[in-house]
Amino acid sequence: MASGIRDKVAILGMGCARFGERWDADAANLMVEAFEEALGDAGVDVAQIGAAWLAVGFDTANVGPSGIPLSVALRLPNIPVTKVENFCASGTEAFRGAVYAVASGACDIALAMGVEKLKDTGYGGLPVRSRGPYIDNIGVVGSAPGGFAQIASAYREKFRIAPQELKRALAHISVKSHANGAKNPKAHLRKPITEEQVLNAPMIAEPLGLFDCCGVSDGAACAIVTTPEIARLLGKTDLVTVKALQLAVSNGWESQGVGWDGSYFHTTRVAAARAYNEAGVTNPRLEISLMEVHDCFSITELVTMEDLGVSADGQAVRDVMDGVFDADGAIPCQIDGGLKCFGHPIGASGIRMIYENYLQLLGRAGERQRKTPPVMGLSHNLGGHPNQNVAAIAIVGLQGA
């Protein structure tokens, strides 16, 4: 019987490039920037890394195929490098590969790198791409905001929420993330905004306006992981360990089957239940210190509060308006600015979330450091569209927590 990943793997070091419109940098530069920080943090030599995982979401728009771009950029000593792609959950997926490799005993130290160079397309938003020759015939070639905006239509209907009321709660989410991002020197968007700005912004996909959408950024983030024993041998004292690492992938039920009402993320609920079980969490609202969720759009963050069980169904609007998820609230969400303001370089995002939780747990988050010392951080990484997607949840915490 599998016993789960809890406390079997520790984070040895992490790094994150400055996110943003990095006109100055190629994907390789971004990877080196994140890696040098992580390597310094870990206090190991490149030669000690036994295997690596590379996450990229839109490889044709930047690094191209295979694990070679990582191996070349970092001049890795011909170790195994696996490239993974799982939509926007790719970063957590790479982290999972590295963590599982260490947990299996196949290698002592492993690397997870996520990178995305999105600003070489020539236009705003995510690159347009094929879903394959079959789906292209019958699927909708919409935009990402269009995909997620649909959640709002069903959520309003289900809980009988007036459009203006939901729009205000969504605005609160974006205002909060901008306030948080302003304190983060590596964030893409660092200007505080007002509710009026959000409400009056141009419509992108009804009801999501410009400020309901996250930044499309260049960036890279990486993690070097090992076993708690090796970490201690290497001189680490305050250990952040992996408590849970779960992935739930749609099997077509939401999009083709009977019963999904379009107002929530089925996979997030499945992954959350498994992750809480793996981490031994029984009441997430009380036990999770802070959250980094996949706020690609404000509506995603709102319904994710319910999908993660920190808000009761239909109560996320009230919790948001009550400030529960603000930086000084009961359970901060996106204390680093989130995808919204830290930015969303697809492949890097899952690892960036873990990076923030790691810094917060170690008290190294600078100006944005949570006052109440956190013990457990949850990150939620979601890829695809509401009706068919990949949900990933990582819970990291202080060893012993």
Binding site: N137, I138, P145, S153, E206, Q256, G257, G262
Partner: protein, 499 residues
């Protein structure tokens, strides 16, 4: 006995206001001012002669038994494919059996009536029921008379030997190379000669002679004609020809020019469908098709002509309308003007023909699957059922979804993704009886979309592969036109008949 078994029509929802065209182009061609009255039917960006023909066919077949259709004929001078059987695409979209014949008929404004004549002769000879379709979306040079007078529409007539609403009394054809206008194979636009000559020497001489010959051939006189149907882009030509033949002015049927324009070779069939919708049992109808000669078809309505039906017909589709005064939109949709769609419009729309062939029922027919064990309906069909609590493999049978009512589960209006008609509406719809689909919406009004709203499926252009000249078709959801105030014309007939 051979004749018309049922009829159908389709007129796109947009109606370009001629006044808007005149306002835009009269500075250049002041002569067009006299043509500024009324409106013309204008296909949406995602409609063409295949999609319009398909809608007319669905209107015609309605609740009828499609398995009796032995052949599909599509007449048009504006087909999307020069070499790929256009009627074959309609056949797939109708989800007809593979052992059905299909044929495109083209080359002249007479293509519609000639195809109908051939269908009638073939059915008389035992060919089975033939679905005769005619559809037009003719392009016209901006600021031309044709731009104002053309209209986009389609008509459908099911020809057979049983259950006739109109009996075919006979036909007569003459062929004369009278070139009133032409379009070379490699050209987009027509080149037309002087209209006075066309009216006097063409319609004025060729048509009356043909009509008189036809009447004589079947032992009829002008007085026996209750309804005279002749389509022409030139106003008053139908009355002029009727007069020349001695046919009463009251028998001349409205050519619908002011309400929808002239849909080329489809217009005679559409007008016949329109005439039959009002015809009383026993009435004789003369249909004239003009173009490098003349086809004359004589019908007599049967008692069944007044029977109620589900079709919207010409009246119903004409009533489903949205006035359009945006001339630039008309130019853009018609391909006369290229607008900058931005880089998102550059996405490669290449279609894998192998994939399309394997999945043609799914893609073109909107055929899903139903599990014979659990009854679960799903789209698309798959080897392993989507049902979550049982594992069923290879238990699904074909389950057509195209004619089922659906309701909106989720939706958005997307201003970011490229579409020729922004914002792009799409969302998940759930079919009555099961099955759901994330699909594009079309023919929707801004701010009039809501969760739970009833929708119907329409076969439309999904994407155009500009690089290779291919068109990708799929099914989109449109607001339930039957739920609105528009009544099926057959139903109206039925009510009136009952009184």
């Amino acid at each position: 006995m051979v004749g018309i078994v049922s009829l159908g029509a389709y007129v796109p929802r947009l109606r370009l206001q001629r006044a808007a065209v005149v306002e835009a182009v009269a500075w250049f061609n002041a002569g067009l001012k006299v043509l500024g009255k009324g409106e013309r039917a204008m296909a949406g960006w995602d409609e063409d002669t295949i999609t319009m023909a398909l809608e007319a066919a669905r209107d015609c077949l309605a609740a009828g038994d499609r398995s009796r259709v032995a052949k599909v004929v599509l007449a048009s001078t504006s087909l999307p494919f020069a070499d790929r059987q256009n009627a074959g695409v309609v056949k797939e979209a109708l989800n007809l059996r593979d052992d059905v014949a299909a044929q495109d008929a083209t080359g002249s404004m007479r293509a519609g009536t000639s195809a109908l004549l051939d269908a009638l002769y073939a059915a008389r000879g035992g060919a089975g029921e033939i679905l005769c379709l005619a559809s037009e979306q003719r392009r016209a040079r901006p600021a031309s008379e044709a731009e104002l007078m053309n209209g986009d529409a389609a008509a459908a007539l099911l020809v057979g030997t049983e259950g006739l609403i109109a009996e075919f009394l006979g036909g007569h054809s003459v062929t004369v190379d009278f070139v009133d206008h032409f379009r070379a194979s490699d050209r987009i636009y027509d080149y037309a000669w002087e209209s006075r000559w066309i009216r006097d020497e063409g319609y004025g001489k060729i048509a009356p002679a043909a009509v008189n010959a036809a009447l004589a051939k079947f032992g009829l006189t002008a007085a026996d004609v209750d309804r005279f149907v002749l389509a022409s882009p030139m106003r008053g030509v139908n009355a002029q020809v009727a007069k020349a033949c001695g046919i009463a002015a009251g028998a001349v049927q409205d050519d619908l020019g002011t309400r929808m324009g002239d849909a080329g070779c489809a217009q005679p069939l559409l007008l016949l469908a329109h005439a039959l919708a009002d015809a009383k049992p026993g009435e004789r109808i003369v249909l004239v098709g003009f173009g490098q000669g003349c086809d004359v078809l004589v019908f007599q309505a049967t008692d069944a002509v007044t029977a109620p039906s589900e079709r919207l017909g010409v009246k119903g589709w004409l009533a489903r309308r949205k006035p359009e005064s945006n001339y630039v939109k008309h130019l853009f949709f018609g391909g006369a003007l290229a607008l900058d769609g931005g880089m998102r419009a550059e996405a490669d729309q290449k279609t894998a023909l192998t994939t399309l062939y394997r999945n043609r029922k799914t893609v073109l027919g909107l055929v899903g699957g139903r599990c014979t064990k659990t009854g679960t309906v799903q789209f698309p069909k798959s080897e392993i059922s989507v049902a979550q609590n049982v594992r069923m493999i290879d238990t699904q049978e074909d389950y057509p979804l195209a004619d089922r009512l659906a309701r909106i589960v989720t939706y958005t209006a997307d201003s970011l993704a490229y579409t020729p008609d922004p914002p792009g509406y799409y969302g998940t719809v759930e079919f009555e009886g099961g099955g759901r689909l994330l699909t594009e919406f079309t023919d929707v009004e801004a701010d009039a979309v809501s969760v739970g709203q009833p929708m119907r499926m329409m076969f439309r252009i999904k994407a155009i592969d500009e690089q290779r000249g291919f068109k990708r078709y799929f099914w989109k959801a449109v607001p339930d036109y039957r739920a609105s105030t528009i009544k099926p014309e057959g139903e109206q007939r039925g009510e009136r008949h009952q009184r």
